[in-house]
Amino acid sequence: MDALAPRTRPLRLALLGNPNCGKTALFNALTGARQKVANYAGVTVERKTGAVALPSGARALLVDLPGTYSLRARSPDEEVTRDVVLGARADEPAPDALIAVADATNLRMALRLLLELKATGRPLVLALNMVDIAERQGLRIDRAALSRELGMPVVDTVAVRRRGLDALLEAAEQAALAAPAPAGWRPASAEALRSLHAEAARIHRLAVRPPERPDTWTGRIDAVLLHPVAGTLILLVILFLMFQAVFAWAQPLMDAIDAGFGALGGLVKATLPDGLLRSLIADGIIAGVGSVLVFLPQIVILFLFIILLEDFGYMARAAFLMDRMLGVAGLHGRAFIPLLSSFACAIPGIMSARVIDSRHDRLTTILVAPLMTCSARIPVYTLIIAAFIPDRQVWGVIGLQGLVMFGLYAAGIAFALIAATVIRRVFWRSAAQPFLMELPSYKLPSLRNVAQNVLLRAQIFLRRAGTIILAMMILIWFLSSFPGAPEGATDPAIDYSIAGRIGHAIEPVLAPIGFNWQIGVALIPGMAAREVSVGALGTVYAVAAEGDEVAAALSPTLASHWSMATALAFLAWFVFAPQCASTLAVVKRETNSWLWPGVMFAYMITLAYLAALITYRVALALGGG
């Protein structure tokens, strides 16, 4: 490429490296984007692009690629990386330069990939990331020797502190403009691989001096946290405390938001004249959207815990502890990452199943991922728990409400493992693949990253409330209000509405599991998103409220209209029900077939109905009617 010729397109730079070496943190720092960053491998499963301003003033397009240990790709995400690097994707021009990111504390793992990348002939720059931690560990890295042996510029970076970014971009631009013709790449023979290993080991010995006083802290902490008994107990205690905090800390904020929406509804009823518009705003929008927004504090607290644990490096240890349990269920150890992501939302969870190379293991993981308790279930669970489970302590110190929440999460995990066992036995009987995992070093969580990720979760929740949930509430209000009651009608007006009629029509199917027609009305729009069911209940009960009476908060309304058995059956339903059209659509996209979303819908709806039926009948028998 002629450096002096005017450029007709921006430079394309690709970030790549081993999993968990800080590629996405570097991508976010360079582009100002807010992609998810976590201290465990496999967070990025498809390539992301962003614009970046180079120190020369030119603009470039930066591509963040999934982590890989080698160009000899084994899983779909690693194939993305290999194909982009080699320019083998029809929809993606080859990058002008590669920015190879290496974890300075674990350079040994990066060297083989660096040598493979060098063989492709693409212009290369090495970003030696996390040099601050390497220095603290006492590692001494000879940059000059490294650069000489690898034949590429080496730049120190600390992505989370935004250090070394300009120098890195400058080096990448220079490398891209002085590009030689790519030499191509072929998978290495066994002999060539052995010599590649030997060369990587030679360079490591030459350029990296181990610390004079090796770090023993990681080993000491791991001896406890990875202990089969003590480690598992600590994991359970951490999860347990997390759910206790979700209830204990969030309550004052939730009460304040609830009171705020109550006051707003009252104000609208007091100022607007009686009519359609007042009903739409007060009963449809404020009662519906308000009953979902109340749960923002709980979502923020839950994700604060999860993100802090991820950043600290604990989640990968949790994966290690869970591997045995996953293995018993026939799930691959790598399934932990998709399953963990599914606690936020099943969609990124199912997408991250691309890190699993075996098709059978990947399909099993995809099919059970929606059983993990996603954040959309939190409003449903907490609404019912707050309304029906007494706020008291058991055994002196444990909050009963938090305990029930913990139980619902545990039920999701337990049934995911059982479902995985059954799926593997029914559909295929291939042997489980071995699992190798790199444990990241412990790090103090970066406040910036934690704040950014918590804010992202809050934004996703608020965006949903302001778009899908708002639109759904308007439609549900419409369906609950029209047509009005005929002259001389004696039943409540909502019984004559479209929603009322639909609810009454499906009531016979739902009656055996204790659901009334209002629940039936709420379950249908709940297919758009689970928490829409909560908003729909808020709207349906608000529209049914008499005259000028301001609809009470949803929780006490449900407590007076539902039996304990119905409430428990409703919780059991939501542990299993496939109440999310987007999840089914992403399964179709990821499996390229309607068969698997069909299988998923059928098994989950059957489980949901059976679980609700059994729960309802048992609760009735125990006097919960």
Partner: protein
């Protein structure tokens, strides 16, 4: 506010909500797919470009 005006505002809100949901849950063009948090999104995963 007159009943007709109220009716018009409400009809507009209902039609707008219906159109929004139809557009969101009816993936049509190549490159469109389910988005985290429900619904669909189109285009590449560029959040900054």
């Amino acid at each position: 506010m007159g009943a007709v005006l109220q009716g018009a505002v409400v009809a507009l809100a209902v039609a707008g909500a219906g159109a929004f949901l139809l557009r969101r849950y009816w993936p049509k063009r190549p490159g469109c797919g389910p988005a985290e948090g429900g619904g669909c999104h189109c285009g590449r995963d560029d959040r900054s470009a």
